[in-house]
Assembly symmetry: C2
Homo-oligomer: 190 residues x 2
């Protein structure tokens, strides 16, 4: 398989997403979904290996040394209308989405999800325009198979992805787009 | 709702599951499922809050202080035949399963999963007999609603759960039982 050179093959500590607004928007939206019994979707904990733990008391342990490890999966997963949902969310300050923002094994993971009947996608926010797009793993795979560019231009998201409208509550109703993806999949299988 | 007093309401550091055999059996089984494109199911990382990180170099960060936090969900989730799968796995050395081994919010989580169309359950291994059972959230909820005991007797698992047969590869083929749960759900909805 051909992957653009831009895709990260080795793990690097990525501090660019710490405290990003998109993450808190998605967490708020997921909380709304859970509270209203619409879906149960969570952000996974950061994967680490723990090397040293101090047991101060029976119920009080402090991790004294740990390391970040390469995430083998994506950040978010859960259930909506019985369907398995799985995605990664990223922000960019550019007019295109640099592919080194996403790990090659995360893309492989999303393909496996799709092959097992789940719904996999990425959510990308273009900060300068404050626009957030959902791009399915199929369309992401199409780009990777047919392009050699190291970043996906915003035009590709406009043409093959879906703009997630920002509202009040929930702030980022991405499950509306998931409904569209679900109906597309059902049309193909029927 | 009535919960037996035995259910843990506050978080305590539980060291009893560290390095447990059941966990490695399930991880091996999940690896087999992934490698054979049967299902994509992972154990989630341990939830922690990070207080202090040393950046030794650009790509080398060491967590110097972190704390375990109460898990709000279960340990395992993923996708099988398009279905969302979610469960918690525990070992016990007793002839019954002490309910303080499972958090109240994990039970609430499994109920929410069920209500959103997912398949939620617990896997319990009785170490003394080396028998492993799968009990659906519905049967677990029935016990909690009708009993005041602080532990679920093994007989309840025999009667209302399913023995997971141990084989060679995969070692613990729990998805065979999930197939039964899926067909029960389909029978009810059809």
């Amino acid at each position: 398989m051909n992957y653009p050179n831009g895709i990260k093959k080795n793990f690097k500590i990525n501090t660019s997403n710490r405290g990003m607004k998109l993450e808190s928007d998605i967490n708020d939206t997921n909380l709304y979904y859970r509270n209203n019994n619409i879906a149960v979707i969570y952000k996974k904990p950061t994967p680490i290996t723990i090397n040293k733990v101090d047991y101060i008391a029976r119920d009080n342990a402090v991790i004294k040394e740990a390391h970040f490890i390469t995430p083998s999966t994506t950040d978010y997963n859960g259930v909506y209308k019985g369907c398995y949902i799985d995605f990664e969310a990223k922000e960019t300050r550019k007019n295109s989405f640099p592919l080194n923002n996403i790990h090659i094994h995360q893309i492989e993971h999303l393909k496996k999800i799709r092959n097992c009947g789940g719904i996999g996608f990425i959510i990308v926010r273009f900060i300068l325009d404050n626009e957030t797009y959902l791009l399915s793993i199929n369309k992401l795979e199409n780009f990777l198979n047919n392009e050699t560019r190291k970043s996906i231009p915003k035009e590709y998201f406009i043409k093959y992805g879906y703009l997630i409208k920002q509202g009040y509550n929930p702030y980022l109703d991405y499950l509306k787009i998931v409904d569209i993806l679900r109906s597309e999949i059902n049309e193909k299988t029927n």
